[in-house]
Each structure stands twice: as structure tokens, then as C-alpha cells.
């Protein structure tokens, strides 16, 4: 069993709840393979630096996973087949950091400044946190 960090980008047109069901689907593959989800973060609908499959924005989700390589390969295969997933990257990490990643920190800073768009982000934030507690 090894630790991995997985980031996936979902299509811009799907809703937050759809993203969550997608992520649950993928998490099930890991847990069925004897692994576990250590951390889950929803970074929100971020604008992409360049277009991917005609999308200018994407839902970013980061998972920290403990799994063996066979399970991870299966996880990657399923994700590659899913058309709602624009891109994913899984890298090996040595340890799962306890505190939220820099993305979440940056986002909370931004939402402090206020604004309509950021309030939406906050709602997403809250729901993401809730799911991570459940997991």
C-alpha cells in the first residue's frame, strides 16, 4: 500500500452534486480494492489556464489515497473512460499533510474579501468539508 495524491478535473457543465457522485464512484473503486481515502478536497470551479476539450473552466477535486498499485491502475482506467473527467493526475506522496492544501487556504483568503462569486464558492466549500467528514 502506498500513498497517492490524485487531482481530477471535471467538465464545467456538470453540477457540484454530480461532481460529488462522480468522486464517490471513484472512491468506491479504491475502497473496494482494499484502499482508503485519506483526504478529500473540492477546490471549486476554477478557470483553466488553457482550454481542454473546449472547456474554459473545470471542477477540481483532490483526493489523498492509500492503495496498492493494481487498485490505482483500475481507478485510472475507469477515470480515463469517463467523459465528464477532462484530466487527472496521480502522483505518489510520502505523507498526507494534516492541514488543508494551499488551494483551500488561497480560496478562503479570497472569500474573506467578499463578492457574489465567492459566496458561491463558500457554499461549495462547506459541502466539500461535510463530505470529507463523512468519509
Amino acid at each position: 500500500m502506498r500513498l497517492y495524491e490524485s487531482v481530477l478535473i471535471a467538465r464545467q457543465d456538470i453540477s457540484t452534486t454530480q461532481v460529488e457522485t462522480l468522486v464517490d464512484e471513484f472512491s468506491a473503486i479504491i475502497t473496494n480494492g482494499g484502499g482508503s481515502i485519506k483526504k478529500k478536497e473540492y477546490w471549486g470551479l476554477r478557470s483553466l489556464a488553457y482550454r481542454i476539450k473546449k472547456n474554459r473552466k473545470g471542477h477540481y477535486v483532490m483526493l489523498n489515497i492509500e492503495a496498492d498499485s493494481a487498485t490505482l491502475t483500475e481507478y485510472e482506467r475507469i477515470m480515463g473512460l469517463n467523459e465528464d473527467i477532462l484530466r487527472f493526475m496521480n502522483i505518489r506522496i510520502e505523507e498526507v499533510s494534516e492541514e488543508p492544501s494551499i488551494m483551500m487556504q488561497a480560496k478562503s483568503e479570497r472569500s474573506e474579501r467578499g463578492g457574489r462569486y465567492n459566496n458561491n464558492n463558500n457554499a461549495d466549500n462547506a459541502s466539500a468539508e461535510k463530505t470529507s467528514e463523512e468519509a
Binding site: V7, I9, R46, L48, A49, Y50, I52, G58, Y60, M62, R87, M89, I91, S101, I102, M103, A106
Partner: protein
């Protein structure tokens, strides 16, 4: 090797330019992470190219780490490959 460094510093000295130390070494140096686009952005040019270490004074080891981090960030569309 050492000979070369001595002569180089001797040449530099009249202009009063000291070699800057690596921004990623030292006690409170930032950790290189592909998710930290703000930090990585400081080491890319306006066009999105990675700044050579001879200009940014990043050590060779950290420059390798930095370049993989930037490439990862590019792959995830957190940073541009080319920016106009």
C-alpha cells in the same frame, strides 16, 4: 573548479555584485508544491517559460524540483504552457 570560481568572483567584485543565495534553502524557505501557483509564478517569465537558475539563483537541486512542480501545474491547467 575552485580555480574557476575564484577567478569569476575576482572578476565580479569590481562591479560589487554578490551571488544571491537560493530562495529555497534556509530556515523559512517555502516548500515547492505544484499546487502553489502563486509561488511557481515567480519563477516563470511573462510568457510562461521557466526562469533559468542562473538568473533566479535557485540551486540545482531545487531547480529540478521546481521544474517538475511547474510542469505538473501546467498539466493540470493551473499554469499556462504559453502565455501571451
Amino acid at each position: 573548479m575552485t580555480q574557476l570560481e575564484i577567478t569569476r568572483s575576482a572578476v565580479r567584485r569590481p562591479f560589487g555584485r554578490r551571488r544571491k543565495s537560493c530562495p529555497f534553502s534556509g530556515p523559512n524557505a517555502p516548500k515547492i508544491d505544484y499546487k502553489d501557483t502563486k509561488l511557481l509564478g515567480r519563477f516563470t517569465s511573462e510568457r510562461g517559460k521557466i526562469v533559468p537558475s542562473r538568473i533566479s539563483a535557485v540551486s540545482a537541486k531545487k531547480q529540478r524540483e521546481l521544474s517538475t512542480a511547474i510542469k505538473r501545474a501546467r498539466f493540470l491547467a493551473l499554469m499556462p504552457y504559453v502565455d501571451m
